[in-house]
């Protein structure tokens, strides 16, 4: 400690260094440490991934063959709804907040997040929110069964009493997200080490800064939507009830005004992760750093102006459809810039293919496939045939599973040696990648075909012509689910031990966390701001 004192220079600092994490369970309940909170978020999201995944298994089991064999239609609808809600709000979003907690301070040379107590609170709200949401499965009337998009009036006049639990759970998730976003913004804008100018920040920090603004802008809109639902259900208002002068289509406008930016909330941080991993393993700087920043910002701005592309069949005026079509397909320009940048970064690099790079490459290829189907869906007239079919299901699973989830897994393999000081088992990591990648394509690729051939989404049973592809899809689904249980084993094994990681971890790694911190970093890192070149 004495070196620390000469280093730190004053007594208060010495005291500070003496207290490591508290002992036992209370460490996790009362912690205000960004690393602990990051870990909590990541574990919550893993548990939610397995929970949401097990509901996906029920769905794939029922769809394995035509006919109703395993569950009733009402329960099937509960499964699709809860699967969507849990994966979006429980698995993907908290995973990125966990990564933000762990990485933003050590990437910008800050000792912690700017608002540590709020940080604790924004995490601990979530387990209660999800317990409340999940508990509805065991109540009379069952869990929400109106789809994760909960269109009125199915979710208002026609929904069971348990819907109120859903409403309050969504409120809690929204509060948690907004607090998390405020914390990210406050940290990035105020706590950067001297010399860390905005245009020197790693792209993960940039994309999270933009994401945080999106969260603050749209989570209150979602809160407004569920509040209007609540008053429609109990206090005699008719926001969405046509019989009382309300407008069910307005619900969709409000929902998608939240919902489309939400898509980018789940993908912008992924762009940041991939932009960190590709240069490291190509041993070559990112091709166009500033254009990547501008592309992220333009995607974020455009994301507010395209929401009604989810509503091409609601009977919008032609002018509206034309506008939303043009604006939507325009988003493929900045998205293309991203992909071209990653490919050019690889070009003439000196590439190696450790597990994080494999997941990143998988991301680039399959996210692009999801982008292509996204472009097709954006073409309003043809959306007549695509809308609400399995083609849409295939599209958003390509961008969310092989997109967002793949980036999260890539991030885990990339930074876990830094976090724990242990290398993961390279052989197991590669098996995990190839197993998942084959399975996920067997799972989702055939869904393009059944969708085009006319199978609507959200149906518990289907006519015989769709049987073959559904069976293939289900087999892929079970294999993909199993691969993530295997991932759990890899995670635990890495935390418990493994080859000692070096401080730089990867030969080509750059950034403060790899250049100025040991692996694992001390409980309190960067109590002194590091020098920034």
């Amino acid at each position: 400690m004495s070196t620390e004192i000469t280093h730190g220079g004053h007594d208060a600092h010495a005291d500070h260094d003496h207290h490591g994490p508290a002992k036992g369970l209370m460490r996790w309940v009362t912690t205000t440490n960004h690393k602990d909170i990051g870990t909590l978020y990541l574990w919550l999201s893993f548990i939610m991934l397995l929970y949401g995944g097990s509901m996906a298994m029920v769905i794939r089991l029922e769809l394995f063959q035509p006919g109703l064999q395993w569950v009733e239609p009402h329960f099937f609808n509960q499964m699709t709804t809860m699967h969507g809600l849990v994966m979006v709000f429980g698995a993907i979003m908290p995973a990125f907040v966990g990564l933000a907690n762990w990485l933003i301070p050590i990437m910008i040379g800050a000792p912690d997040m700017a608002l540590p107590r709020m940080n604790n609170w924004s995490f601990w709200i979530l387990p209660f929110a999800f317990t409340m949401l999940a508990s509805t499965t065991f109540m009379e009337g069952g869990a929400p069964a109106f789809g994760w998009t909960f269109y009125a009036p199915l979710s208002t006049t026609f929904a069971p009493d348990t819907t109120d639990f859903f409403i309050f759970a969504v409120h809690l998730m929204g509060i948690s997200s907004v607090m998390g976003a405020i914390n990210v913004i406050a940290t990035i804008l105020n706590m950067r080490a001297p010399g860390m100018t905005l245009m020197k920040m790693p792209l993960f920090v940039w994309t999270w800064l933009i994401t945080a603004y999106l969260l603050i802008a749209v989570m209150p809109v979602l809160a407004g939507a569920v509040t209007m639902m609540l008053t429609d259900r109990h206090f005699g208002t008719s926001f969405f009830d046509a019989a009382g002068g309300g407008d069910p289509v307005m619900f969709q406008h409000i929902f998608w005004f939240f919902g489309h930016p939400e898509v980018y909330i789940m993908i912008l941080p992924a762009f940041g992760v991939i932009s960190a991993i590709v240069p490291t393993f190509a041993r070559k700087p990112l091709f166009g750093y500033s254009s990547m920043v501008y592309a992220s910002a333009s995607i974020a701005i455009l994301s507010f102006m395209v929401w009604a592309h989810h509503m091409f069949t609601t009977g919008m005026p032609v002018a509206g459809e034309l506008y939303f079509m043009y604006a939507t397909i325009l988003i493929s320009v900045p998205t293309g810039v991203k992909v071209f940048n990653w490919v050019t970064t690889m070009w003439k690099g000196s590439m190696t293919f450790e597990t994080p790079m494999l997941w990143a490459l998988g991301f680039i290829v399959m996210f692009t496939i999801g982008g292509f189907s996204g472009l097709m869906l954006g073409v309003a007239p043809v959306d007549t045939q695509y809308h609400d079919t399995y083609f849409v299901v295939a599209h958003f699973h390509y961008v969310l599973v092989t997109g967002a989830l793949y980036s999260i897994i890539a991030a885990f393999y990339y930074w876990v040696p830094k976090w724990t000081g242990h290398m993961y088992d390279e052989r197991l990591g590669k098996i995990h990648f190839w197993w998942s990648t084959i399975a996920v394509n067997v799972l989702f690729f055939p869904q393009h075909f059944v969708g085009l051939a006319g199978m609507p989404r959200r149906i518990p049973d289907y006519s015989l012509q769709f049987a073959e592809f559904n069976m293939i899809s289900s087999i892929g689904g079970f294999a993909f689910g199993l691969a993530q249980v295997f991932f759990l084993y890899i995670v635990i094994k890495t935390i418990k031990g493994g080859e000692k990681a070096t401080d730089q971890v990867w030969e080509g790694a750059t950034g403060l966390e790899f250049e100025h911190l040991p692996s694992p970093p001390p409980y309190h890192s960067f109590t002194e701001a590091p020098p920034v070149k």
Binding site: H74, P153, D247, V343, L452, Q465
Partner: protein, 378 residues
């Protein structure tokens, strides 16, 4: 017991895997891609779909081959040295402008197709009003005195546990919508309860039916045939069980069908003026109940606790005074999923189903409800 059940399932899986491989070859044409359909619009949509698809394939080939080349040649294990180039405004401008031009190439034909698709009003020959009702469709020919309800065929309902070999499983209805070929048909969409979406891929019509709104769309069917579709918007429990069947026939056959439908309606109206026996009411009531009420209230009247009330022992049903029971069936209950059946069922059907509910499903009030009572309650 459990094991035999499981082994049966596994054998189903095994045979399924084998048949899957052989069948996927046989059905490849329809199962892999969008239908070209039987209307001018459906063909336009197909061409546009293929255009955008091939553009995506083209871009994919360029991007992925560049990536593959790089992965293969620029790898450290082959001794590749990392170059250090980055930031090039020229390159950035090129890969912004080229995609923009491609998008314009997509937007131009897409705009034309969209304008055609949306032109439902001009020169429509026939107008059909389509009403979505949980979980069936009601068709009303606006200029004719013809209106009927179309719901999932009993032949599909009977085999939900094991539909093997049931052709058109879940795509068959009791009464199909009959339309003439070569006429411009305008559809008006509306809903009585939640949002549904009427979709027949071959007609390239998918439009939401929304309470409080009237949407429209159109189709000119060029080829006689039977075209099947499904509800495309999640509308509750039996969303997967409200198919659509359109029977496209020659104009003469269509006219004949209209005459038949009108005669049927007239017969039903005269039946409503008669006094019905308990036995006849119960027999008819059971059919009506299973087709219209069982989805929510259960085939045995048990309901779904917390979501849909039970029939068995319901205070309204077993009340000796019939007034409240008749009222809730005829007029529905505002603010709940219970819809007003006066728009869906005729007097005889409603009288029969009420009689059935009062004297079956574990209830035994002992009275009958006559069609005349329903007529008065409307």
């Amino acid at each position: 017991m459990i094991f035999s059940k499981l082994s049966r399932r596994f054998s189903v899986v095994a045979t399924g895997l084998v048949s899957m491989l052989s069948m996927s070859v046989a059905r490849a044409e329809y199962a892999l891609n969008m239908t070209q359909g039987v209307t001018p619009i459906s063909q336009e949509l197909y061409s546009l779909h293929m255009l955008v698809f091939w553009i995506c394939v083209g871009i994919g080939v360029v991007v992925f081959s560049a990536m593959a080349y790089s992965i293969f040649h620029h790898r450290k294990s082959r001794g590749a040295q990392a170059a250090n180039f980055h930031e090039s405004t020229t390159v950035e401008i090129v890969w912004t402008v080229v995609p923009l031009l491609i998008l314009i190439g997509i937007a131009i034909p897409a705009t034309g197709t969209l304008l055609d698709l949306e032109d439902a009003k001009t020169d429509a020959d026939i107008t059909v009003q389509v009403t979505g009702i949980q979980w069936k469709w009601k068709y009303t020919f606006v200029d004719e005195d013809v209106s009927f309800i179309s719901s999932l065929a009993q032949s599909s309902r009977d085999v939900v546990k094991d539909p093997t070999g049931n052709e058109n499983y879940l795509l068959e209805v009791d009464k199909p919508l009959v339309l003439p070929v070569g006429k411009k048909v305008r559809f008006l969409f509306h809903s009585d309860d939640v949002i549904h979406a009427w979709w027949v891929p071959e007609l390239a019509v998918k439009q939401d039916s929304i309470p409080g709104f009237i949407n429209d769309s159109w189709a000119t069917i060029e080829k006689p045939g039977v075209y099947r579709g499904q509800c495309a918007e999640l509308c509750g429990k039996d969303h997967g069980f409200m198919p659509i069947v359109v029977n496209a026939v020659s104009e003469a056959e269509y006219e004949q069908w209209l005459v038949g439908m009108k005669a049927e309606a007239a017969a039903a109206a005269s039946a409503a003026d008669q006094e019905w026996s308990m036995q006849d009411l119960l027999a008819k009531g059971e059919t009506v109940y299973q087709a219209n009420c069982a989805a929510c209230h259960g085939p045995t009247g048990a309901g779904i606790p917390g979501a849909f009330p039970a029939m068995t022992g319901s205070p309204i049903v077993i009340d000796p005074d019939q007034a409240a029971h008749i009222d809730i069936v005829v007029n529905g209950k505002a603010g709940t999923a219970m819809s007003a059946f006066k728009g869906q069922l005729n007097d005889v059907d409603i009288a029969a189903v009420i009689t059935y509910e009062r004297n079956s499903l574990g209830n035994s009030v002992g009275d009958t409800v006559q069609p005349s009572a329903i007529k008065n309650a409307r």
